[in-house]
């Protein structure tokens, strides 16, 4: 089927609701409204109010009760309307979802998926545009996924819903309806923890995820018009656990690396990637690893958001810097 990311996610949810009787979808406005972005459109009509549950407006309760459900035989898929509203539920996520397996020495687990739209670029009000994935990647016990296209979104969400541990599934807002592509009709999974090398190259490894993968692609296409660099592109897809072998083997081939993230600079995932790349590949490196990131500021309201978000120009500049070193 031809689908944008919203439709692909909707399809993944529908198929999993059909095949797993223990799966429940819950959140604010996920029922009759079909979610504010329509990711759960039609699911309540099809699967009923016991499987697709409109909850009171309380993120802590949504995640907290999901933990109880998950520990006792259900597979909850909780929607948090925007990632900026995860924080009321953050305590439940980091103090309990991430820890219950460890705390109970393996007796209890938390097969929970928390879906949340994230990232900027759609002119939204405050708190609707941040990229705070690092908070969750930093939390031991959580997995974190960010798809960059409809096909991956469907396969990764299906894996997340079947994962035995809690997964935070961030859906880049800017990609939701940005384009459609052919997505397989049947159910399929894309394993968590596997990055995708989307383009082979020998001069430089360009690492990104979510909406920044598209920005990076744009930069690579633009730069190819004049400069003959051979760039290897990696779409990380899963941010925790990270596919280090794919990253390291690419860098050992290219010797140069640029990481692009929408999130603020300090202690973003790019920081960790740079550290590991340096630790493992010091003698392979031909240039310091470059990163293109948001700033260490609050994501501004929309009149300035496009200044904040990394763009192709900034990515090209980083590529040139690495190549010219």
């Amino acid at each position: 089927m031809k689908a944008n990311m919203v439709q692909a996610l909707n399809n993944a949810l529908a198929l999993e609701l059909e095949s797993n009787p223990n799966l429940v979808v819950l959140g604010e406005d996920v029922g009759i409204d079909g979610g504010v972005f329509r990711v759960t459109d039609g699911l309540q009509t099809k699967f009923g109010k016991n499987r697709v549950i409109d909850t009171p407006l309380a993120e802590s309760a949504i995640i907290g009760t999901s933990i109880g459900m998950a520990a006792f035989g259900l597979n909850p898929v909780a929607e948090v309307q925007f990632s900026g509203f995860l924080y009321p539920g953050f305590d439940q996520l980091i103090s309990h979802a991430a820890r219950i397996r460890n705390r109970s020495r393996g007796r209890f687990s938390c097969p929970l998926t928390v879906r949340s739209p994230y990232g900027g670029g759609i002119k939204a009000p405050e708190h609707h545009s941040e990229s705070m994935e690092a908070l969750f990647i930093h939390t031991p016990g959580l997995k974190v996924v960010v798809p960059s296209n409809p096909t991956d979104a469907k396969g990764l969400l299906t894996s997340a819903m079947r994962d035995p541990d809690p997964v935070v599934f961030f859906e880049p807002l800017r990609v939701y309806r940005a384009f459609r592509e052919e997505v397989p009709d049947e159910q399929y999974t894309i394993p968590l923890g596997q990055a995708k090398v989307t383009q082979q190259g020998n001069d430089l490894t360009l690492i990104s995820w979510g909406s920044m993968f598209r920005t990076s692609m744009e930069a690579v296409q633009q730069i190819a018009e004049n400069e003959k660099y051979s760039i290897e592109m990696i779409d990380l897809r899963t941010l925790s656990p990270i596919d280090w072998p794919t990253i390291h083997s690419s860098i050992q081939k290219t010797g140069r690396c640029v990481v692009v993230q929408e999130a603020p600079l300090t202690l973003g995932l790019a920081s960790e990637i740079m550290a590991r790349v340096m630790e493992k590949n010091f003698l392979h490196l031909k240039a310091p690893v470059q990163r293109v990131t948001g700033f260490d500021t609050i994501m501004p309201l929309y009149k300035l958001e496009n200044y904040y978000l990394p763009n192709a120009e900034r990515v090209k500049e980083a590529i040139r810097k690495a190549m010219a070193f």
Partner: protein
Amino acid sequence: MPLTKIADFGVSRLSILDENGKADEKLLPKLTNPQFLDLFTWMTLLRIFDDKALKLQRQGRIGTYASSLGQEACTVGSAFALKPQDWTFPTFREHGMFFVRGTPIVKVLQYWGGDERGSQSTSDVNCFPVSIPVGSQPLHAVGCAMAMQLKKKDAIAVGYFGDGGTSEGDTLEAMNFAGVFQAPVILICQNNQYAISEPRSLQTRAQTIAQKAIAFGFEGIQVDGNDVLAVYKATLDAAEKARAGKGPTLLEFFTYRMGDHTTADDSTRYRTKEELEMWRKKDPILRLRMYLMAQGILFPQMEEKIIAECVALVEKGVSDYENMPAPQPSDMFDYLYKEMPPALAEQKRNFLSFLSTQKNNAQPNKTEGPGFP
């Protein structure tokens, strides 16, 4: 031992002006004729503003907008009962409160137009900025009230939230603190029957929102939120009580959101025309108008004049907004700390020097994807 009843509670509802503009004379608040007209004018201004803002959004001149159509009495009546030294803590649906308390129209437009300067309200207007995370700001109101109490100031605080907001733990914790510390605060719930698509019945099994106060040891009252006189009186009484050191009050303004949740919402997905029609008859402006006309306080010519003045004020606000120079990209660095840390200053410098290399400083990204719901 048989069960014995150890406590007994009731919840009352205040309503002064009925749908036909008939007032309960015994309950009428003491207002002068100019004050009655002020209430009418503010509500009219708000309605004209809401209507204009929706049009601006459709034309792409502001971003997503949350209209307060149908809820005019709640924000206007409550703000009208406060003193300038009092503090208000709004959600995103209290434009009326901002206006009544003295915030220029242009500021509200700037805010919804994605310009942070809209929240930089003038220092003589005691409003906290809009808080988008639902249920977060009642705590700030209670904290402010505690500060006023400790500093022995003659000021109270008002925290606004919606019916959806009563489900957040923070809101309930705010009520608890308010009760425990007898804070001089009014907690105002604009119960407009919906939280986006979810009807009030999905938020709580309780018969009223007002009764939630009882569990925290203070009074909760339900007020006809489409009756500006009841809203005004309830707020004034609660404010006097708070000022007298007699603690908090929860006011549930029972009203209805006549428009979509925001410009990105489509309320036909989850509610009926019949319901809307039923509420249209309860229009807050209409009933005040009928009352004022019957009392001879307002007459058609004067009404026309008021409307024309409101239209002019809104148009002036729009042109002020559109003539405002764009915010500077460097603004996003400047208000984070009192003193900018050196590393951030370096980020700012690098960013500005990068921008200067870009063709005519154009915004470097195009916006794509859907609008915000």
